[in-house]
């Protein structure tokens, strides 16, 4: 048997990863979950390496998660909030990429409000690039941390039935999760009003429901999506009240799922909009805090794979 090798220079999306790639990341991340629970959390794998968090869109959770992950591996971590500075002055994304590239980073973690922007940036730099969310396209580390969370609890991904509920139309989390779960052999459903589903969504290999009762029936995992405030009042759904009534997760709807069904949410939550507080805080059913824990571990695994090898670092000519 040939030895497994993670053959990707960047992590731009789940699309393009094989089941072996995904399992390998999750296996590595499992080890980091254990490390992170110890008092001494640091190793020196990325000592001397530089990680730049380059966020063209606001983020606290994801940026912090990457920062913690980088520091625990011994890397120097720099945070850049770009939306306020250079883009306003008319600097293009490619200019920013070239500028950062000249500083010889080893990993760029990039979030951008436009789909495809992280890929464009990755084509212009010599270091590894991790997509921390691009528009409505992909958010691969979120899907990997969700998968790790599920696998640690259920012992597997294949054969499970997962309902992804809410604003699938605008959600990069949904796209990455659908890609990951389907390639790993899970059955995926999407549940949402028609205004929040993209065209031809069934072509992604999911079953489509517009009714929570039918959509949650006998599922193992209920994955709720965040509804952005600007979409709550009339543009995509008429009101938060009506949305919660039909599509918000509470115990009434949850009891249609399997008795041991678990609840997930990528955060930050809108309590009382897509998810009720009593469900979100249910210590037996809700995996939300485990997701955050898995996030750091998965990001450490990704950093190890992309920045850990000296060969993955072509010199700047």
């Amino acid at each position: 048997m040939q030895e497994y090798r993670f053959g990707h220079r960047h992590l731009l999306g789940i699309e393009g990863l094989t089941p072996d790639d995904i399992s390998h990341v999750l296996d590595l991340a499992d080890g980091y979950v254990e490390l992170n629970r110890q008092a001494e959390k640091k190793n020196a794998l990325l000592r001397g390496r530089t990680l730049i968090n380059c966020f063209f869109e606001n983020s606290t959770r994801t940026r912090t998660s990457f920062e913690v992950a980088g520091k625990r591996l011994g890397a120097d971590v720099i945070n850049m909030a770009v939306q306020a500075s250079s883009m306003r002055k008319g600097e293009t994304l490619i200019d920013t990429a070239m500028t950062l590239n000249a500083m010889h980073p080893d990993v760029l973690v990039v979030r951008h409000p436009e789909s495809g922007a992280v890929q464009l940036l990755s084509e212009k730099v010599d270091c590894a690039v991790i997509n921390a969310g691009d528009g409505s396209h992909e958010h691969p580390t979120q899907a990997l941390l969700d998968a790790l969370t599920i696998r640690r609890r259920k012992g597997k991904l294949g054969g499970l039935t997962v309902a992804v509920c809410g604003d699938v139309l605008h959600s990069r989390v949904a796209r990455s999760n659908i890609a990951l779960l389907t390639v790993m052999g899970a059955r995926v459903r999407v549940v949402a009003p028609r205004t929040l589903l993209p065209a031809a969504v069934e072509r992604l290999g999911v079953e489509v429901f517009h009714d929570m009762a039918a959509g949650l029936k006998d599922v193992d995992i209920v994955m709720m999506l965040r509804l952005q405030v600007e979409r709550m009042h009339g543009s995509f759904v008429p009101s938060t009240r009506e949305y919660f009534h039909f599509f918000g997760l509470d115990y009434d709807k949850l009891k249609l799922a399997k008795p041991d069904a678990l609840i997930m949410h990528p955060g930050p939550m809108n309590r009382g909009v897509e998810i009720g507080s009593e469900v979100a805080d249910d210590i037996d059913r809700s995996l939300i805090r485990h997701q955050v824990e898995a996030g750091v571990a998965v990001r450490m695994a990704c950093l190890e794979l992309l920045a850990g090898q000296p060969s993955n670092r072509p010199s700047l000519q």
């Binding site: 699309e15 293009t92 994304l93 490619i94 951008h112 436009e114 789909s115 495809g116 922007a117 890929q119 464009l120 691009d134 528009g135 409505s136 396209h137 992909e138 990069r172 796209r175 993209p198 065209a199 031809a200 969504v201 072509r203 992604l204």
Partner: protein, 432 residues
């Protein structure tokens, strides 16, 4: 110094208007066609006459490209009237009509005159311009259509913007009819379009791009056809790209409405898969469509519902295209690929060669009311000598256009212009 008399001999003469497709010669005197037919060379015309041996290549009326964006005035670094003229010449285009979306826009007589003067100075392909239908292309107040038309504007359009408000559109059509002017519409209902530059469907969904339903085009076409019904104005729909839109036009024509339409090569040569991984060179407005729509465009061209093929030339510099997909500009350069891409319809056996040329010459000339596009004695000697079969690969770096934004780079095609003649003067000869 151009000879007063030029004889092109040994050509395959193709004139879609008369149906002529035969070996023969063509005599130019000054800026006009003096005679056509077989054996002119044997009848004693050779005295004091420049002889051009066509070597059996096709000689047709020069192409009439009814939809071209110039960037002069305003953004000459992307395209000037002169650089567009060279690109047109190399593409076999002898007449082009510019959209009014320059800076300032062509909504005032002085800008019409400026464009005409710059074209006269360039002395390349003939250039006409449409004028804005509404002031500043803003879709609210009518422009001085009568005065603009009297000073040479060929028709009225808001260019790449639809005239969205139904009442304004009704008045544009009604007022234009008073002067028997053509109105040209970019058919897209903007309130359905949102920020969409890709067609709704699996590809847009996978890429996570804001998408627009093809109904946005169909709805606007159907609305406008109803307004044409009550105003009777001559109406032309630009770059149709959907099966539903073409059906609506087909029905309107059958009902006798004064409507015509064109499409552009990307809509029959490509489908939405050309976007691949966010290729901004394949970002167009209207967006590339499904394979079913592409086939409907081919069928619409073949059955004559689509009257004309225009390049939809839209030059953009690198800075406008090397951006995330949603921020990138829409459109591609097309003057130099109009002929070879249109010839694909012939090589793929969808149309006879003469029928392809009809949609590139006499049909647009008629729609625009221009006295070009025919091979008849007395007509302007605007001609293209071309090889319909010559295989080559599109190389955008060799474009004469200042902008290189085209998704066709590297595409193997057949056929190109060998010599382009305007008013009897050769403005382009292919070297080597």
């Amino acid at each position: 110094m151009t000879a007063a008399r030029r004889l092109i001999r040994n050509a395959r003469l193709i004139d879609p208007d008369s149906g002529l497709d035969a070996a023969g010669d063509l005599l130019i005197e000054g800026d006009r066609i003096a005679a056509i037919g077989p054996g002119l060379a044997d009848a004693g015309f050779a005295e004091n006459t420049e002889i051009i041996d066509a070597g059996g290549l096709c000689l047709a009326p020069g192409l009439v490209d009814m939809r071209v964006q110039l960037r002069e005035p305003g953004a000459e670094h992307m395209e000037s009237i002169e650089s567009a003229g060279h690109a047109a010449a190399a593409g076999g285009v002898t007449t082009m009509v510019a959209l009014p979306n320059t800076e300032p826009p062509v909504d005032d007589v002085s800008v019409v005159e400026f464009v005409a003067r710059r074209a006269r100075e360039a002395r390349l392909a003939k250039l006409h311009t449409y004028a804005a239908a509404t002031k500043g292309l803003k879709g609210r107040e009518l422009t001085e259509m009568g005065l603009l038309a009297a000073n040479g504007a060929l028709g009225f359009t808001d260019g790449v913007q639809p005239i969205a408000d139904a009442l304004v559109m009704r008045r544009v059509l009604a007022y234009a009819r008073s002067f028997d002017q053509l109105v040209i519409q970019h058919p897209e209902e903007p309130s359905l379009g949102g920020a969409g530059e890709v067609t709704e469907g699996e590809i847009a969904t996978r890429l996570g791009l804001p998408a627009v339903t093809p109904m946005a085009e169909i709805i606007m076409i159907e609305r406008d056809l109803r307004l044409v019904e009550i105003t009777g104005a001559r109406f032309h729909i630009a770059h149709v790209s959907t099966a539903g839109g073409i059906d609506a036009i087909r029905r309107a024509k059958a009902a006798g409405l004064p409507v015509t339409c064109d499409t552009a090569p990307p809509y029959f040569a490509l489908n939405e898969t050309a976007i691949g991984d966010y290729r901004t060179f394949a970002k167009l407005s209207p967006p590339l469509r499904s394979e079913a729509d592409r086939r409907a465009v081919v069928a619409g061209i073949a059955d004559g519902t689509i009257d004309a093929i225009a390049s939809d030339h839209a030059p953009w510099d690198q800075d406008s295209k090397r951006l995330p997909f949603s921020s990138a500009a829409c459109g591609i350069v097309g003057l130099e690929t109009l002929l070879p891409l249109s010839l694909e319809l012939y090589h793929n056996r969808h149309l006879e060669l003469i029928e392809v040329l009809r949609r590139l010459t006499i049909n647009p000339a008629r729609i625009l009311g221009l006295d070009v596009g025919r091979l008849v004695p007395g007509s302007p000697a605007d001609l293209v000598l071309f090889d319909p079969d010559m295989p080559w690969r599109i190389d955008t770096e060799r474009f004469r256009s200042k902008s290189k934004n085209a998704p066709f780079d590297g595409r193997p095609v057949q056929g190109h212009a060998v010599q382009t003649i305007v008013d009897g003067r050769t403005i382009f000869i292919r070297q080597g």
